[in-house]
């Protein structure tokens, strides 16, 4: 067993877990943060994307023990005081989803992309979301949502 302390959405969480426990299972089963989804469970779909020490990663492909001492942000950590994060708002307003299953991962990947490229081109958006699959939308509205997110975060839209 491994004793791990991970700062999740700003709060230290200490648990004793099996060494083989994946970070996504730690978040979902131990902390009941079920916004992070398990889609493919084979590191392809990106539904489980969270930020570890500020970088987007697939939490199904990392052990909880590897995240010991790290700072993790999940989809639940974005909204502040009941107010949607600008990226959440953009996905909602642009209807960047249909069934919504991939959305938490898409939003976390978008946040990662915009951290590196605050004003991405369309091609950079496609490349930036390469690690995330949506089986409903055809991505058109997702790309729109990323563009609107970028504007909101740069203070260019209200």
């Amino acid at each position: 067993m491994a004793k791990v302390t991970i700062k999740v959405n700003g709060k230290n969480q200490t648990r004793t877990v099996e060494d083989r426990m994946l970070l996504v299972d730690f978040l979902r089963d131990e902390l009941k943060l079920t916004g992070t989804h398990i889609g493919c469970d084979t590191s392809q779909c990106g539904c489980c994307t969270v930020h570890v020490d500020g970088r987007a990663v697939k939490s199904c492909s990392m052990l909880a023990a590897q995240a010991n001492g790290a700072s993790v942000v999940t989809i639940e950590g974005l909204a502040k005081k009941g107010k949607l994060h600008p990226i959440q708002r953009a996905y909602s307003e642009c209807h960047g989803l249909q069934c919504g299953f991939c959305t938490p991962g898409m939003i976390m990947a978008t946040a990662g992309l915009l951290k590196d490229k605050p004003n991405p081109t369309e091609e950079e958006i496609y490349k930036g979301l390469e690690g995330n699959l949506c089986r409903c939308t055809g991505y058109i509205n997702i790309v729109k949502a990323v563009k609107m997110s970028a504007k909101l975060l740069r203070g260019k839209a209200r």
């Binding site: 083989r20 994946l22 970088r55 492909s61 990392m62 590897q66 990662g112 390469e130």
Partner: protein, 267 residues
């Protein structure tokens, strides 16, 4: 995933000693290949020895005509490093095309080389540039390091510490990624080095290899037309559901031309 014991190494020395004492232990860096492998129960190590965050494996430094990259450096760090972009821009570009952003934030250069996936990108750069793989106990030339399908000169538990890339006069990489996985169906790294022209091919065969006929042709004239008609034996190349060996042989030629076109500034 089968049950396993997680161990966080405090130094390369400690990791090497631990693996020497526990022959069924595996080194864990970014885990982008190992964790999925464990989840599929394709491996059953007793221990995972985590070396990802060791400071001695994390550095990028250009000095004396060499670019030195610590084995624990992830793909994102290589792709965005000012030192890499300045010394060997083709290497930064290659790192930025591996997998997807989430994978690049975790996967490491040492892990990729140690795994030696036949369709991975880094082996093409290491072989194409004539790099030296430095482990905790010795230095291994890229020409000796890669030994075919998932096989390297590394002994059990030998830890890669850093990779030393001689800075070439110029170099370029071009790959045809599989549209779903992003792995190279064929990728060609071409470098003009102090020791001559080197052409390394990944994705097309059972392991990265040098296309010697193309090297000879380019040594005579370093331009895209130089490799027209140069022989490439397709008999040893991969045939699978995605492409047969003749198709892959053609892709290699096309990727080589594209790499050369990048160098001459023409499309």
């Amino acid at each position: 995933m089968y049950s396993v014991n997680y161990v966080k190494a405090k130094s390369v020395k400690e990791a090497a000693e631990f693996v020497a004492r526990n022959p069924e232990a595996k080194l864990l860096a970014g885990g982008m290949t190992l964790i999925p492998t464990l989840k599929a129960r394709l491996a059953r190590p007793t221990h995972l020895v985590d070396i990802a965050s060791l400071p001695e494996l994390r550095r990028i430094e250009a000095k004396g005509g060499k670019l030195v990259i610590g084995a624990g450096t992830n793909h994102h760090q290589v792709a965005t490093s000012a030192a890499v972009k300045k010394a060997i821009p083709a290497l930064a570009g290659l790192a930025g095309e591996i997998g997807d952003p989430q994978v690049r934030n975790r996967g490491t250069i040492g892990g990729s080389l140690a795994n030696n996936d036949p369709a991975a990108d880094y082996p093409a750069a290491a072989l194409g540039l004539g790099a030296t793989v430095v482990t905790a106990k010795r230095s291994i030339a890229a020409d000796d390091f890669f030994q075919g399908l998932f096989t390297t000169a590394l002994e059990e538990g030998e830890v890669i510490v850093r990779i030393e890339f001689p800075v070439p006069k110029r170099a370029a990489y071009s790959k045809f990624p599989h549209p779903a996985s992003g792995y190279a169906m064929a990728g060609v790294f071409i470098a003009q080095t102090a020791g001559g022209v080197r052409v390394a091919v990944t994705g097309a065969g059972p392991g990265v290899f040098r296309w010697k006929e193309a090297e000879a042709a380019l040594a005579k004239g370093f331009k895209p037309t130089a490799i027209e008609g140069v022989k490439l034996d397709a008999s040893g190349l991969n045939t699978d559901i995605h492409a047969d060996r003749e198709y892959r042989a053609n892709l290699v030629r096309v990727m080589a031309k594209r790499a050369l076109a990048k160098l001459s500034g023409k499309k």
